[in-house]
Symmetry: C2
Subunit: 328 residues, 2 copies
């Protein structure tokens, strides 16, 4: 049994043409004569030929692979968000013959992999303000796409959800449910997501002619949500927009302990539609990001960037949706 895969050489011999011609057909070069093309295509399918990517890589200096950079901390890998990103990226790149490589956020390694053509570009998820990697990559002019708007403005391609629109969605929903005395537990206010969700919520509340909402700053963590809820438990509010499901999961038991029933006394809307949203009691109404779609778009933008590095950077912002459950 022959373990050696079919090569271009063999296809060429069978089709009675040169290797160059087969190569052109494989790569879809338009100038090949129609009849010849047909002969070659038949030879390809009869042999089951697939190009050897190492050989191709060697001459094109393309890896045929993009990287998904995880934070150094294993922490975020556990996040279901991560799986949704993968589910969005894969269907876009597989048909292109591009592989998805998982890599940790070690800066040297990422830059090295890119420089040495082991990776054609990278998708960065969960970068924080202090992370120097985005700027490093921009300065080296290496293809990169961020999964969120960077903390400080920079000439980089990113894909994000319209955070402010998400806050507004929450406000509109609470109002439609009869809330008149709104409050919010925000994310960390030094992050774009924290700021924008608050701004959107505030503006929509004002748009409904309601009083300025009570604002307590949180930190996106379960404990942070619980702490913020303690400060809110005795306030005169009847609806709370909590800027992450995880914080909401921390807040719910606190509200209950203070005798505030959800949704009867106070309605709650979260953000993310992550697993805590479903596992909470009651299950959370929440703002959902179309993560799979966003990830697919990141993959498309990255591939585009790899193929046409000269193109100007462009970013894309997606609209969030509301998932209604029993907490409101």
């Amino acid at each position: 049994m022959d373990r050696r895969p079919v090569t271009l050489e063999e296809v060429a011999r069978i089709a009675g043409v040169s290797r160059a011609t087969v190569s052109r057909v494989v790569n879809g070069v338009a100038t090949v004569d129609g009849e010849l093309r047909r002969v070659v295509e038949k030879a390809i399918s009869s042999t089951g030929y697939t190009p050897n990517r190492a050989a191709r890589s060697l001459v094109t200096r393309r890896a045929g692979a993009i990287g998904l950079v995880l934070p150094d901390e294993g922490r975020t890998v556990h996040d279901p968000y991560f799986g949704r990103v993968v589910a969005g990226v894969l269907p876009v790149i597989r048909p292109l013959g591009v592989q998805l490589v998982l890599t940790t956020g070690d800066h040297r390694e990422v830059v090295d992999d890119l420089r040495q053509n082991r990776l054609d570009g990278v998708i960065l998820i969960h970068t924080h303000g202090a992370d120097p990697l985005p700027r490093l990559l921009i300065e080296a002019d290496l293809p990169v796409v961020l999964a969120a708007r960077p903390v400080r403005p920079m000439p980089i391609t990113y894909v994000d959800v319209d955070q402010a629109a998400g806050g507004a969605l929450a406000a509109d929903h609470l109002v439609s449910r009869g809330c008149r005395r709104p409050a919010t537990i925000t994310g960390p206010l030094e992050t774009p997501a924290g700021q924008d969700r608050l701004r959107g919520f505030r503006e929509a509340v004002a748009g409904h002619g309601l009083p300025e909402p009570v604002v307590v700053e949180g930190d996106f963590s379960r404990e942070g949500g619980a702490a913020a809820a303690r400060r809110l438990a005795d306030a005169d509010v009847d609806g709370v927009f909590i800027a992450s499901d995880l914080m909401a999961a921390g807040a719910l038991p606190v509200l209950r302990d203070h005798g505030r029933r959800v949704p009867e006394d106070v309605k709650v809307v979260g953000f993310d539609d992550s697993s805590p949203a479903v596992e909470c009691d009651p299950p959370l109404t929440t703002v959902r990001q179309p993560v799979e779609d966003m990830a697919a778009e990141m993959a498309r933008l990255l591939v585009q960037r790899v193929e046409r590095p000269d193109r100007p950077v462009s970013s894309v912002v997606f609209a969030p949706t509301l998932v209604v459950r029993r907490s409101s």
Copy 2:
């Protein structure tokens, strides 16, 4: 600014030796003269040389990459288990210069990737009994490691937790907490995990001189757990081993609705130590698999298999541990 990475050629010129010699030093061939080796090493570090993997791949017929095969269903990607696997594999293969490629379970693609040297081997997680992929890979003699013992015995390398020992751990704990009338909600009894957890639990219960436990078959799902709990709610039992946290999360509200307090009236032990275990009310005592360690071992076994395909297949079984929380 020169974007071209340093090549073997340049290092050889700088060190005043042939390319072959540099190659030998890079690959740790022992026969190189000590002095020469030092000169070459200096040239390497002064230039920051890293081998071009496409070129190397082309001649060695090794991809320098292994695949992590996800189930076709995007479903399981969302599982935190997946992230723990990645966190375990990466530290093992990075130092070896091996990449981790994510791929879906399409059989043709997996076999093709392996045959065409785009992947040196694959790790299969979440395969079920009907999945033909493991057998396909064995028959083609392609390197593969399973994340669990296969449903039907086959000559394949796998890494698993000692499921029976996990069941015994649960039994011992319940008994030590004073339970005398045990019950269990099992996994699907056609799976090895379902069978073994039950067997281990039963044997340990018998070993303590207690009566045969009440057994209700479940299916590892939340709803299945709830359904099984309804059949158990009015039984005369004071301790339940539930073979997955997810089922336990479904069972807990049912028990509560039937007026059975956890842990006062009935103690509960789950399995997996997954996120539902923490998010349950009360949080679950549960059997934990050392997933990161197991994943690291899978990576090691796979790399070994790639390097020495002749070696006999061996598998590894890890011991589970008990995580005690408030449900017991």
